[in-house]
């Protein structure tokens, strides 16, 4: 009855603004990027068609793989911290008492700060000569001389940045976990208590399974965010030392803008997009399985 031709047109009309938005701001730029990736394209000189040359070059580009490896390492290190940390804070603050609510607000506050601003804040906190972190460690006698946190040792830099990002985004996961845990019916927990379960057993056997979809969702968002990390590394290390902390997106940026190789940058972006898509598909499959 409702499936008439006229109704279908009306439906399309309702969808039109969203479709137009996606077409103009997502689909068309994507097609353009594909086109750019097939060219040697500097911003200041006319483009030259090179076919798949940019892609074959990326395969042989050592720095691209170094950057990808570092990005994966960063993702593997930070994701469990964000997940486990966020979940633990959620468990500790899930009850709606005033103090726990305040704690949630305090943990969530950095989420609303821009990543650029927070990276700059931490850049100065980690400053060798003027930073509070070295000052505190020196005053407590934990170190004998200031530590150069950023841009000298790749691992140290990575951990310093991880600390800053965890501070910045852990509240996001926490708030979603709190919502998911609060949505579990009381009866389920009460039944488990009647059965004589311990708190740990209830968390592992009741809370965690019933919030698994949220856990997977937050993991997906966190993994994609980490694979596309840029601001924090650009501001805090600029890829130093020796490009060992140059993430994949940083390397894309470097080629596209400072080196003015827009075509090569577009090709690298596409390769990265395929990798992110693969991660997303795996996680979506896992989510579906958990739902089933």
């Amino acid at each position: 009855m409702y499936d008439t031709k006229a109704n279908r047109w009306i439906g399309l009309l309702y969808l039109a603004p969203a479709l137009l938005f996606v077409a103009v701001f997502t689909a068309w730029p994507f097609v353009q990027m594909l086109w750019v990736a097939l060219h040697s394209w500097s911003l200041i000189t006319p483009p030259k068609f090179v076919g798949l040359g940019n892609f074959t070059r990326a395969v042989a580009d050592r720095q691209f793989w170094v950057s990808l490896g570092f990005t994966l390492q960063y993702t593997l290190l930070i994701t469990p911290i964000l997940m486990i940390g966020g979940y633990l804070i959620a468990l500790l603050t899930v009850a709606n008492t005033p103090l726990r609510r305040l704690t949630r607000v305090v943990v969530f506050l950095p989420v609303v700060i821009g990543l650029g601003a927070s990276s700059l804040l931490w850049y100065w906190l980690f400053s060798t000569d003027h930073g509070y972190i070295n000052r505190v460690l020196l005053d407590l006698g934990m170190i004998a001389k200031p530590i150069i946190w950023l841009g000298v040792d790749a691992n140290l830099s990575n951990w310093a940045i991880i600390a800053s990002v965890v501070w910045k985004v852990i509240g996001f996961g926490m708030i979603l976990f709190v919502a998911a845990i609060q949505a579990i019916p009381h009866e389920v927990n009460e039944a488990a208590m009647v059965d004589g379960t311990t708190t740990l057993q209830r968390i592992l056997r009741v809370t965690l399974p019933l919030t698994l979809r949220t856990v997977l969702l937050v993991t997906l968002v966190s993994v994609i965010g980490s694979l596309l990390a840029f601001d924090q590394f650009y501001i805090m290390t600029a890829g130093q030392p020796r490009n060992l902390t140059a993430t994949s997106v940083f390397y894309v940026y470097l080629n596209s803008f400072p080196y003015l190789k827009l075509g090569y940058g577009a090709a690298l972006s596409l390769i990265l997009a395929v990798i992110v898509l693969a991660f997303t598909l795996v996680q979506m499959a896992l989510t579906r399985r958990s739902h089933a």
């Binding site: 911003l43 030392p241 020796r242 400072p258």
Partner: protein
């Protein structure tokens, strides 16, 4: 009705005023760095004389200058004037992205005496695309107070890298936090400006001119790199300099905690402002052989990006900064290099021996001419800085480091 008309008139006035004021402003971009005071003074002098076409000056972080300008060109939203690190002149001029200003300067006497290095890189295919905005030359600054405390003759600066090492060793630690020498560990531009001359003075060459040219050559190149490693290994350079990315490089000497360092003429005024009581001298940057010297002749040119609608006004600013009055009352008065060779003999310089010392560097200054300067040398992620970091802070064999860097530089030059 009258009230409505009045309201509309007031509204039109309020909206129109800033618009008309903004419409007459010239927009200028300039890279950030130690010369900001100099450029501020030039713009202030222009604005005072030209209240109807003031310049609105914006500083761009120096590492962002090339991408920012390229994006502006690609989007058509260009400034009217662009202060450009002179080494990028060939790259942008050859790409046809700068306005040809040759006709405006035909028969102009001031351009004939303008700094030859600047004019050379601002000229492409016989056409002029810019004029000098300011000149920077690198030289060795030495802190006479620290020399005295270390028992060294404060009037005798080093004349070879070995002497730099020996004097630095004596100065190190004469006071808490004092180090003999300074090399910035995370700044490609600072190093080509101050470490490059040590290689040139020793007969070495750094960047390739093109794909067929061999980079990093010269018998003494390895010795210079070994010298730099020794300076670090022996603790003669503050370890925190490893994180110096150029943002505070120009403040290092004025801190009074550095015995000697390569820096530029701009540091004379800055060091005096920072540390008025400090006694210091300036000499040429030495090489391996005693008495060998070199300098980087750098600075900025001011150009008009293609697409500017205010070319005539922009050229007027160029002529203004080359005029006798500005050369004397702005450049010379601030103890900066004059950008015209015929203006160096003036009362301000005569009263300031340090400026005369640093002016000697102009005669031996080297300005690299390459279309790939950023990628080869100036990029914080480029092969030049990577090489230096491996030399300064690792134990890898220097031969291997040089071989790797040659390969990277050749690959970039071949693109």
């Amino acid at each position: 009705m009258t009230r409505l008309t009045t309201a509309a008139a007031v509204a039109a006035l309020l909206i129109g005023m800033p618009l008309s004021a903004a419409a007459q402003e010239l927009v200028m971009w300039e890279r950030s760095g130690g010369n900001a005071g100099m450029v501020d003074a030039l713009v202030a002098a222009w604005n005072e004389k030209n209240p109807d076409r003031k310049i609105n000056l914006t500083y761009i972080p120096h590492t962002e200058m090339v991408p920012k300008l390229a994006q502006a060109i690609a989007s058509g939203e260009v400034p009217d004037l662009m202060g450009l690190d002179l080494i990028y002149g060939p790259q942008f001029a050859s790409a046809g992205q700068l306005e040809d200003i040759s006709s405006y300067f035909a028969g102009d006497a001031t351009i004939a005496t303008a700094s030859p290095g600047h004019v050379q890189v601002a000229t492409y295919d016989g056409k002029l695309y810019g004029v000098p905005l300011y000149a920077d030359v690198s030289a060795l600054f030495w802190n006479k107070d620290l020399f005295r405390k270390a028992g060294l003759d404060p009037e005798v600066p080093p004349t070879s890298l070995q002497e730099v090492h020996d004097m630095a060793a004596k100065i190190n630690g004469v006071e808490e936090g004092v180090y003999g020498y300074y090399l910035p560990g995370n700044c490609a531009g600072c190093n080509i400006f101050t470490f490059g001359p040590l290689i040139w003075a020793s007969g070495g060459k750094i960047e390739p001119l093109d794909a067929n040219d061999e980079p990093l050559t010269g018998d003494n190149l390895i010795m210079v790199l070994e010298w730099a490693r020794t300076m670090h290994k022996e603790g003669l350079i503050n370890p925190s300099a490893q994180a110096e990315n150029g943002e505070t490089f120009h403040l290092a000497f004025g801190s009074g905690k550095v015995g000697m360092m390569g820096t530029g003429n701009f540091n004379i005024t800055l060091a005096r402002e920072q540390n008025p009581g400090m006694d210091f001298g300036i000499t040429l940057l030495p090489g391996i052989e005693k008495g060998s010297t070199a300098s980087f002749a750098g600075g900025d040119i001011v150009t008009v990006p293609r697409g500017s609608k205010r070319v005539a006004d922009a050229v007027d600013f160029m002529k203004f900064i080359l005029s006798d009055e500005v050369q004397l009352e702005v450049y010379a008065k601030m103890l900066n290099m004059t950008t015209r060779g015929d203006m160096t003999e003036n009362a301000y310089f005569a009263a300031e021996p340090l400026v005369q010392d640093v002016a000697k560097a102009i005669e031996i200054g080297v300005t690299p001419y390459t279309l790939k300067f950023f990628e080869l040398i100036n990029s914080p992620q480029g092969p030049w800085l990577q090489m230096l970091q491996r030399v300064y802070y690792s134990d890898e064999p220097i031969d291997q480091i040089v071989a790797d860097t040659k390969e990277q530089m050749k690959a970039i030059a071949a693109e």
